[in-house]
Amino acid sequence: MFSLELLLNALVAGILLGGFYAAVSLGISMAFGLLDVVNIAHPVFVMLGAYAAYIMNVRLGFDPILTGVLFTPLFYGLGVLLYRVYYASFERKGAESLRGLVFFFGVLFIVEVSLLLAFGVDYRLVEAPYIGESLRIGSVGIAFRLLVPCVVGVALTGALYLFLSRTFYGRAIQAVAQDAFALRLMGANPFRVKGIAFGLAIATAALAGALLIMIGPVEPAMNREYIGRVFAVAVLGGMGSIGGTLVAALILGIAESLTATFSGPSWSVAVSFGVLLFALAVRPAGLFGR
């Protein structure tokens, strides 16, 4: 079964998949890594983004990426709103850890079941002229349905990295992650800064969802596999490090692709959780830990 050609193809597919995983994980790296908000509902917002892309594609013929970009302001608003509820109910009272977790678990469940009620369990997919195309370099095939999400994912990662390191608000978000109290002493409002950051985290889900449905058909319960993936990437990447997120996402993508190629696709879901358990047990600070 083993051949160099197969290995090479699996590696390339893994790298492409990794770029996409980065896009899905950025939101959790920000919310969980930087803000300490355990939003395990993040993957379900990615699903929401995927279904938004589906609706716009089927009804109006919009390109999924265009929909992803168009929906980011809406998702940003949703994120700010969600953070307000979270803040008022848990964070302000200092009861965030466990009850906050249960809260997001409930949100996950509500959104998933709502999607189920609206779209059913059938797999949905989008159409765009480039999705079926592919490129061949020697014996290695590069499918556009993987290449485009990878390019967009890497671009999104770069944009977020620049935003966090170069702009005023980006630096304020980094500051609130380091020491919210000190930020308050500087006269800034941590609540507002965290609201903006959480809004951005959810906004990335709109685009990530569009990429998800481009890669393959989606159904509402799919978000659960991504819970393991995004947390594995966030922890392995070092909690809030954007560069680390990309590296960890690439590692996970390659590991999954190799597993799927050589042991069968049904095992690839377990890979992310294996990576997560391993990372938590051996090096909880991640590869690029603060």
């Binding site: 109910s89 319960a221 819970i227 049904s266 938590l280």
Partner: protein
């Protein structure tokens, strides 16, 4: 509640359960009551770790399914009787619980919760790929032709689940009223401080995770004969994770009564809603109620009643 009152209540509950079998009513009622009782066991088991100790477990399906699949293996390999299935399921899930307990050495709070969720997904993948227990397609199991008590097999299973419920709730009651419960509460409130005061935190956590896992496995042990069909997608269903956590949260997570009240209310409501509305919509309702309670009444129904009673007295 004093020990003697509690024991008397337990006897009355089992006697009442025996009395309602053989009434000749529609078999569906036993079928539905079994599910509600199963939720009482799962919610009580979850609460021993989640409510008493403060470790949120998202992996209820893992323990429940492990109990069910152990029973499947026992049926497949040696046609084991129901009692052996239950004990086997409980033992294997208990061992998994013990393993999870050691995990708490390194993983606290959120990381523990994510790890339990991870565990459920990894186990599901294992069973999807294991052909002996039917793989992803699932496996059909035939019930024995006769029942020890006479009457239908569903009635018999109902009585068995009632006994398991009493065992689970009695365990929770005992923990709550013993030094173990006080130790667990100390861990929940502040693990470092408890350790410094000489509370054997690791040993107590191991007790909590093992007992919790064991009871979940016990509930799963009779599931193959109940449904006569087992597949990974249905036994690893996220609904078990949400319900076993929502029920104590809604009932009140600091007393044994909380999960019982939550499970009976929510479980019955879901059974009714599944028949009258739709199964997807009733899950939506569970989610909304859970979020509402977590935000508005974190101490649950029991806490609300206690607060009202205190206000009434003052």
């Amino acid at each position: 509640m004093a020990g003697r009152t509690f024991a008397a209540l337990a006897v009355v509950v089992v006697a009442a359960g025996l009395a309602v079998t053989g009434l000749g009513v529609n078999q569906y009622y036993y079928f539905a009551a079994y599910v509600v009782l199963q939720y009482v066991v799962l919610a009580t088991a979850w609460n021993i770790l989640g409510g008493y100790t403060g470790y949120v477990n998202f992996g209820t399906p893992a323990f429940f399914a492990l109990g069910a699949y152990t029973a499947v293996v026992l049926i497949q390999s040696m046609k084991a009787p129901l009692v052996v299935q239950l004990l086997g399921g409980a033992a294997v899930a208990g061992v998994l619980g013990l393993g999870i307990g050691y995990l708490t050495l390194r993983l606290r709070g959120v990381f523990f919760s994510i790890a339990t969720l991870a565990l459920a997904v990894v186990l599901q993948t294992l069973f999807v790929n294991w052909e002996y227990t039917g793989g992803a397609r699932g496996i059909t199991l035939a019930r024995p032709a006769t029942t020890p008590l006479g009457g239908s097999y569903v009635e018999y299973l109902f009585v068995v689940m009632l006994v398991l419920t009493v065992i689970a709730v009695a365990t929770a009651w005992w923990i709550e009223h013993s030094w173990v419960g006080r130790g667990l509460a100390a861990i929940r409130d502040n693990e470092e401080a408890a350790e410094c005061m000489g509370v054997p935190t690791l040993r107590l956590k191991l007790v909590a995770t093992t007992v919790s896992g064991l009871l979940m496995g016990l509930a799963g042990g009779s599931f193959p004969y109940y449904l006569t069909f087992i597949e990974p997608a249905s036994v690893f269903d996220l609904n078990y994770a949400v319900n076993s956590l929502a029920m104590p949260m809604i009932g009140g997570s600091t007393t044994w009564m909380g999960p019982v009240i939550g499970a009976i209310l929510l479980g019955t409501a879901q059974q009714v809603a599944t028949v009258t509305i739709s199964s997807a919509l009733n899950l939506l309702i569970v989610g909304v109620i859970l979020v509402a309670f977590v935000i508005l009444a974190p101490e649950g129904i029991v806490g609300l009643v206690q607060r009202l009673a205190r206000r009434g007295r003052a």
